[in-house]
């Protein structure tokens, strides 16, 4: 399958001088994880602003409402051509450690997220997805307390280069929570103060659980259909790890 068949054509655009909090609000409104930042001058490559950039701002203690896109976006972002095979785009994301690619054919024509790739691969490569989650999951996950502030959680996520943290269960044997880049983005978009907002009040509503010996296909199906990128892996002893769409794509490319 080609990039053009999997990408989102109805993408969000912004300008470098816009306020970051406002762009975060529009990203949440459209339920997207990135926006294309229009190029400064004709002929130059566009930039990209992702939810990860917003998390970095929050983690650093800056106020997104008093920050401009210009200070935090990635100028001249890595881009893919519409006729690239999906494997090539996935390799570029895996190598660069990012989850969104601008698709350009001269001008930007779309945005491709790692979730878009996985949506195509859940049926196309279902045979490769029969391996167990334990073979691809991350065991060195980050765990935060529900009483921590969103800012502190964001800082620790950025420090570890992770897109999500497991939130310790309030009671033994009960289900843990999850806080992701998207939840931090929601806090920024809503204008809450991340320095006082507690993680427990901003847990992911779109998430699920799996066991280590379930198949990657089950996790991939749940995430692509639910529109989220992380699943908490649990067993009888508690949290065993976290599996993300990026982990699954990395496994498929290996």
């Amino acid at each position: 399958m080609r990039v053009a068949e999997a990408m989102t054509r109805d993408f969000l655009t912004t300008r470098a001088e816009e306020e970051l909090g406002e762009v975060a609000r529009r990203m949440i409104e459209r339920w997207v994880g990135s926006a294309i930042v229009e190029a400064d001058s004709p002929g130059s490559a566009p930039g990209i602003l992702t939810e990860r950039d917003v998390v970095e701002v929050v983690g650093a203690g800056d106020d997104p409402r008093r920050t401009r896109v210009a200070d935090h976006f990635t100028p001249e972002a890595t881009s893919a051509a519409p006729d690239w095979p999906l494997e090539r785009a996935a390799e570029a994301m895996d190598r660069g450690g990012f989850r969104h690619l601008v698709v350009a054919d001269g001008d930007p024509v779309g945005l491709l997220s790692i979730l878009d790739i996985m949506r195509s691969w859940t049926s196309e490569r279902s045979r490769d997805l029969t391996v167990q989650i334990s073979e691809a999951m991350r065991r060195d996950f980050l765990e935060v307390e529900g009483t921590e502030t969103v800012r502190e959680a964001a800082r620790r996520m950025v420090e570890r280069g992770l897109g999500a943290a497991v939130v310790a269960a309030a009671k033994p044997k009960s289900a843990p929570g999850l806080v992701t880049d998207r939840d931090v983005l929601e806090v920024a978009a809503a204008g809450h103060d991340p320095g006082t907002a507690q993680v427990a009040d901003h847990l992911s509503q779109r998430m699920t659980f799996s066991a280590p010996d379930w198949s990657l296909k089950q996790a991939a199906d749940a995430m692509t259909q639910g529109g989220f990128e992380h699943t908490v892996v649990v067993d009888r002893n508690g949290t065993a790890g976290v599996i993300s769409i990026s982990d699954i794509v990395h496994r498929l490319l290996a």
């Binding site: 045979r127 029969t130 998430m207 699920t208 659980f209 799996s210 089950q218 259909q225 892996v233």
Partner: protein, 177 residues
């Protein structure tokens, strides 16, 4: 093998007895699987494969249910296996009486359930068992299904149309006469 004058087993009771024997036979099969998986001869048993590769996918989008299943799956997989066994036991009682009384019926029934899984359930559900199974695993599955059939059929008299009720109930009925 029948005794004149003893009460015969009705259809409903026979099916119930089949469910009971099927469950017991599945438990026996489980015990053998503990050995074969422990020895590394089998990686993933069929009930494991169905639940972990397919069935859980239906509920995995419900977080609370997914958490419950993921943390208690050992017991759930076992219960599912017993359930299959019970259904197989009930189905056994629907075989023609002459077939049920045949001395090789247990062997044949066990083998037939294994072949049924290999040829229909596994490929239809797209399970690993249909593609990547090792010959030794295939052999072990055949053996444990045969054990299931043999335990289920037992003395191949209990489920016969002229068979007797299970011992305790038979004694109670006779005592009332």
């Amino acid at each position: 093998m029948t005794l004149a004058g003893l009460p015969t087993v009705g259809g409903g009771e026979r099916i119930l007895a089949g469910v009971g024997r099927g469950t017991l036979a599945a438990m026996t099969m489980t015990a053998l699987r503990q050995v074969t998986t422990g020895l590394g001869l089998v990686d993933q048993t069929p009930p494991d494969a169905i639940l972990k590769q397919r069935a859980f996918g239906v509920v995995v989008r419900k977080p609370r249910l997914a958490f419950f299943l993921a943390t208690r799956q050992v017991a759930l997989v076992e219960l599912a296996h017993w359930f299959y066994g019970a259904v197989g036991g009930a189905a056994f009682t629907r075989l023609p009486p002459s077939m049920r009384r045949h001395k090789w019926v247990g062997f044949g029934y066990g083998l037939a359930t294994w072949i049924g899984f290999e040829l229909s359930v596994a490929p239809v559900l797209g399970l690993d068992q249909a593609r990547r199974i090792r010959p030794i695993e295939r052999l072990m599955f055949a053996v444990d299904h045969v054990l299931y059939g043999v335990v289920l059929a037992g003395d191949h008299d209990w489920a016969g149309a002229e068979g007797r009720l299970p011992g305790r109930r038979r004694r109670k009925r006779l005592a009332r006469r």
